[in-house]
């Protein structure tokens, strides 16, 4: 108790003497904690508690039967007549868009008659929830009507209401026959009878999934093995929820990278805690000497400073908790959009601030603070009482060992380069991350030498250009080299991450733009209306396709058909292209660099495929390898004849000839159309003609430019969260600079007061502090730019490649980087405004006689 009292008196109370600086330090920790927490919470909500949309109303079953392109209905009969009593639930699964709200919901077709008891139960609970005017029996009378649907209560609709649904490229006016309870929206879907769903989706003779419930106590593995024997070769039987697990696995790299990015603000915060405790140690050197002289042990001193850091950490963590919760709300929306665009249709769960999240936030807040404070606290511990009392609090200079630090920096740099060459571990670029950390650490060690050199090299020039204030500022920063170096390192780290991610995203963007220029040679592109998602492939009516192909001015129509498949335990997209329209792929974008005609020619009529680059990375395959694909009820082997660069999806594509696909999956409806206009014909006229004949169909028509714009819009949206994370890191660093400048002003008040005696005006003092802020910003920007370049090489060629498998061509997004650096520079100067005001208002009479 006594010790606590002493701790409060000696360590905590003095913190409140500089409330602005205390607030900035705590805020820095709070933002660091908040960002990590927000990404964690949002990640859990958007993907962590990931629940495949198709699991809606699936219930608790043991096994599921699936096949690429659908399970033949004959399998239902096979399972129904299986000797053991199985409860089987065949389902049609797709998506429908609510025309009024543009909301996309799962469209589930189930055998309502066979499952009457279950739905009767649902119906009874619905009655009380919705006060439906229709009795349940009457509701079931409408089962045979293909436009009868049942909806969840979260849609706030009632039995008897009409609902316009966009399914594939057509709008259906459906009647709501009943409402099932779902207040949270977690099970929101459009439910219809399986026969009606088959009819509307034109999916006769096939179902998408068959759910199997085994008798109680049955051995699931054994049953899976036995049932496999009675199923056709292309049909897969697996535990229910495997799709969800596969999706979760697919999202792991995305979440992992985002989570690591969220730690940047915390790393920047760590530098600032280090600086705060270092300043505290230097200022209290005499006090340390006195308490050591009157009986405090070295451990007492160590614990006191670690305790100070822990207090800052606890305060920051508690402030970070609500802040993180608020940030998570914004982050989850962005993340959910990205998950939907790049990976899979999903529905974000609710954001839950669990006791574990609170514990985690406290742990990282306090942990990072205490670890950051270790070095200065150890320094305090080793202060000799006699020296401390004799020297007072003077020199910060003493703490730097430039030559030794440069040596350590070189060593870390070499280790970083070695780590960057290493392959992924368990599919994760762990050594790539290690390389990043090593190179950031190397730059932190090299910072004193850099700051010292640059201050020395530029002070003369600055003196001439800016005036005496610049010379004084440069000298002052060099005099407090350790403090300056830590500040520059903190801001440089934030800037470097901004630059490196900026280069990575810019390079990726430029690569995608160049790729689209070669991949979008058609004049018009068509797809069914509704929000696009990586795993949704609604189709366009065949008759409409044929009519478009016959329009005057249309030279050719390329039909692309895509299916969602599971390959080797991971979701993938299998698609076919129309090889009769060869000119749709004008230039070679293959690993082999062979001409397009040659590669695509090999696909024609044969069991050959080409695969996208991410697919080869995910499944560790290459040209010449063989793929065993389940197609309908058959399983066939396909040879990979080449690999192509692709940036449309991270899921991985398998591409084959349309005729080959139709041999196995005879549904000819295309998912997308690429229309080539005859030379000399007006694209706009053809577009108008298509719109005219597509009346009654909901088709979106894009020019190649529209498509590029749309793709870039989605691309930019995907990386919006990345920019937000970087902005927080920069904000934390700038706050740190402001706090440190306040400390610097307080520590140098004698010097500032003296300058007033020597004829400096208050505006010159103001300018001096702003020049210091500007110098810090300049040094950090310069160091950040160089560091950022090296980090970008690791991001582009190591982390991205090992996480996602994309080949990105390096590109400097000059305008973006210059804009970002200017922003940081201005923000740094603005951060000096308050300290400059404090400095200009110092009473010179008071401060000059203090000592």
């Amino acid at each position: 108790m006594l010790r606590l009292k002493l701790f409060y008196r000696l360590m905590v109370r003095p913190l409140f003497r500089e409330p602005v600086r205390l607030a900035l330090t705590v805020l820095a920790v709070a933002f660091g904690v908040a960002v990590v927490l927000a990404i964690d919470l949002a990640g859990n909500a958007a993907a962590g508690s990931f629940h495949s949309s198709m699991e809606t109303l699936a219930g608790d079953n043991d096994l599921e039967v699936v096949a690429s392109g659908g399970v033949p209905e004959s399998v239902v009969a096979t399972l129904a007549t299986y000797p053991s009593p199985l409860q089987i639930s065949p389902r049609i699964e797709d998506f429908a868009v609510l025309v009024n709200s543009q909301q996309t919901l799962p469209l589930i077709g189930v055998d309502l008659i066979a499952e009457a008891s279950r739905y009767a139960a649902l119906q009874s609970s619905t009655e009380s929830a919705t006060r439906s005017p229709e009795p349940g029996a009457d509701s079931l009378n409408h089962l045979t009507d293909p436009q009868s649907v049942w909806v969840s209560s979260s849609l706030n609709m009632h039995a008897g209401d009409q609902l316009a649904l966009l399914i594939n490229d057509r709008v259906y006016d459906c009647s709501i026959r009943g409402v099932y309870p779902d207040s949270s929206g977690g099970e929101s879907a459009i439910l219809m009878d399986i026969a009606g769903a088959q009819r509307i989706l034109d999916r006769f003779g096939r179902v998408d999934r068959i759910l199997i419930k085994l008798p109680p106590g049955a051995d699931i593995d054994a049953a899976q093995r036995e049932l496999k024997k009675v199923l056709p070769p292309g049909v897969e039987i697996r535990p229910q929820g495997t799709g969800t697990e596969e999706n979760r696995k697919m999202l792991a790299a995305f979440r992992w990278n985002l989570r690591l990015l969220s730690y940047i603000a915390l790393v920047v915060g760590a530098f600032l805690i280090y600086n705060t405790i270092s300043v505290s140690v230097v200022r209290r050197r005499t006090e340390i000497g006195i308490v050591r002289a009157v009986g405090a042990s070295r451990t007492d001193v160590l614990c006191a400073f670690l305790g100070e850091a822990a207090c800052l950490g606890i305060a920051g963590a508690f402030l970070g908790l609500p802040l993180g919760r608020i940030m998570a709300s914004g982050a989850v929306k962005l993340m959910a959009l990205t998950v939907e665009s790049l990976y899979v249709s999903s529905r974000p769960g609710s954001i839950a601030l669990t006791p574990l999240s609170v514990f985690w936030a406290l742990l990282i807040g306090v942990g990072v603070s205490v670890i950051s404070a270790l070095s200065p606290a150890r320094e305090a511990m080793n202060v000799s009482p006699a020296d401390a009392m004799a020297q007072g609090r003077r020199e910060y200079i003493a703490g730097t060992h430039m030559r030794r630090d440069l040596l350590i920096a070189s060593l870390l740099e070499v280790l970083g380069v070695i780590a960057a060459q290493a392959p992924a571990i368990g599919g994760k670029p762990l050594l790539g991350y290690l390389a990043t950390i090593l190179i950031i650490a190397a730059s932190a060690y090299a910072m004193p030498a850099l700051v010292s050199f640059l201050s020395w090299a530029t002070s003369g020039l600055l003196n001439r250009l800016v005036g005496i204030e610049a010379l004084l500022a440069a000298r002052s920063l060099t005099a407090a080299l350790r403090r300056t170096s830590v500040l520059v390192a903190a801001l440089a780290t934030a800037v470097a991450m901004m630059v490196s991610v900026g280069i990575m995203v810019g390079s990726f963007r430029q690569t995608v733009v160049s790729w689209m220029n070669t991949q979008l040679p058609a004049d018009l592109y068509l797809r069914p209306a509704g929000d696009p998602a990586a795993d949704r492939h609604p189709t366009i009516s065949l008759d409409l396709t044929e009519r478009i192909a016959r329009l005057p001015g249309v030279a050719a129509v390329d039909r692309l058909r895509a299916y969602e498949i599971s390959y080797d335990g991971m979701p993938a997209t299998m698609a076919s292209i129309d090889l009769r329209v060869l000119h749709s792929y004008r230039s070679s974008d293959f690993f082999s660099a062979r001409p397009t005609e040659e590669v695509l020619g090999q696909l024609r009529g044969q069991n050959n495929v080409i695969v996208s680059e991410p697919f080869t990375y995910k499944h560790n395959v290459k040209a010449g390898d063989s793929l065993a694909l389940s197609l309908g009820e058959t399983q066939a082997n396909f040879k990979i004849i080449d690999v192509y660069y692709d940036y449309a999806s991270e899921r991985g594509y398998i591409l084959m000839d349309r005729d080959t696909m139709l041999r196995y999956l005879p549904d000819p409806a295309p998912s997308n159309l690429a229309v080539f206009v005859t030379q000399g014909a007006s694209v706009q006229d053809v577009r108008n003609s298509i719109q005219a004949i597509a009346a009654g169909h909901r088709i979106l028509i894009f020019s190649d430019r529209d498509l590029r714009t749309e793709a870039i819009r989605i691309f930019d949206r995907t990386f919006a969260i990345t920019y937000a994370l970087e902005a927080v890191a920069v904000l934390v660093a700038v706050m740190g600079i402001a706090g440190a400048l306040v400390a610097l002003v307080i520590d140098r008040r004698r010097e500032l007061g003296l300058m007033r005696f020597l004829g400096a005006s208050s505006s010159q003092i103001h300018k001096l502090i702003l020049v210091e802020a500007g110098l810090l910003g300049f040094l950090a920007n310069l160091a950040g730019l160089v560091l950022g370049y090296f980090l970008s090489l690791i991001l582009v060629f190591v982390i991205n490649k090992q996480s996602f498998g994309w080949t990105i061509r390096f590109h400097w997004p000059v305008a973006v980087i210059l804009g970002a650096l200017s922003f940081v520079y201005v923000a740094t100067i603005l951060s000096g405004l308050y300290p400059a005001r404090v400095a200009a208002r110092l009473n010179p009479l008071g401060v000059i006689h203090e000592e």
Partner: protein, 225 residues
């Protein structure tokens, strides 16, 4: 006309709700080329008088005329200009900037005033205080006496009409203190400055032209030699 004139000047401070009377009705006139020593116990108002004389503070009552200009009539910018042009300060603890070299310290007032050719002037002043050749050293490489000579060179670099020295020998041994006092005497004679020195040193009183004894904020005695 006196270069510095204090007319019935009083100065009070409010500290923790209590009024402290640092100076009470002080009148004093100092001519160019006059070396004045202010003596008295700690807290008698010596430093306050120096601050008022250097336009670092305003009187609560009365008028302080510096080269004929009332300091109270000036705003902050004009006060700053007045100090830059007419006043030089010397402190007990030298108050050199440790991040600057000796010559940079000396030229600082000129640079702050935006004057050209600061380096040449600084070197001339260093020569005058017999420190030529030490211009590129840093303060921590000098002895106490040398540091105070640098401070004197800095106080003189802009050719002020008034030099204010607050205990300039307080941190020095007797012989070094003697050298500094001789230097101040010489500068008063050669540069024709009005030098006002607050001191506890009895030796200091022997080199000055006028001895002003302060007690409880009042002038107790003015002895001209």
């Amino acid at each position: 006309m006196a270069i510095l004139s204090l007319q019935n000047v009083s100065k009070h401070f409010d500290t923790d709700g209590q009024t402290v009377h640092a100076l009470r009705g002080v009148s004093l006139a100092v001519e160019s080329g006059e070396f004045v020593a202010l003596v008295g116990r700690s807290g008698c108002g010596k430093s306050t008088l120096l601050h008022l004389a250097g336009a670092m503070d305003f009187p609560s009552e009365g008028v302080v005329l510096i080269d004929g200009v009332a300091s109270s009539s000036l705003d902050d910018a004009k006060q700053t200009r007045l100090r830059r042009e007419k006043v030089g300060f010397i402190f007990q603890s030298f108050q050199l900037l440790h991040t600057l070299t000796v010559q940079e310290n000396v030229e600082l007032p000129l640079l702050l005033a935006g004057k050209p050719h600061a380096r040449g002037e600084a070197l001339r002043r260093l020569q005058w205080v017999e420190l030529d050749g030490l211009g590129t050293r840093y303060p921590h490489q000098l002895s106490g006496g040398q540091m105070q000579r640098v401070a004197i060179a800095r106080a003189l670099v802009h050719s002020p009409k008034i030099v204010l020295a607050d205990e300039p020998t307080g941190n020095l041994d007797t012989s070094t203190g003697h050298v500094i006092l001789s230097l101040l005497q010489r500068l008063t004679r050669e540069q024709q400055t009005a030098t006002i020195m607050a001191t506890h040193s009895t030796e200091a009183t022997t080199v000055c032209d006028t001895l002003v004894r302060l007690r409880d904020g009042r002038i107790e005695e003015v002895a001209r030699r």
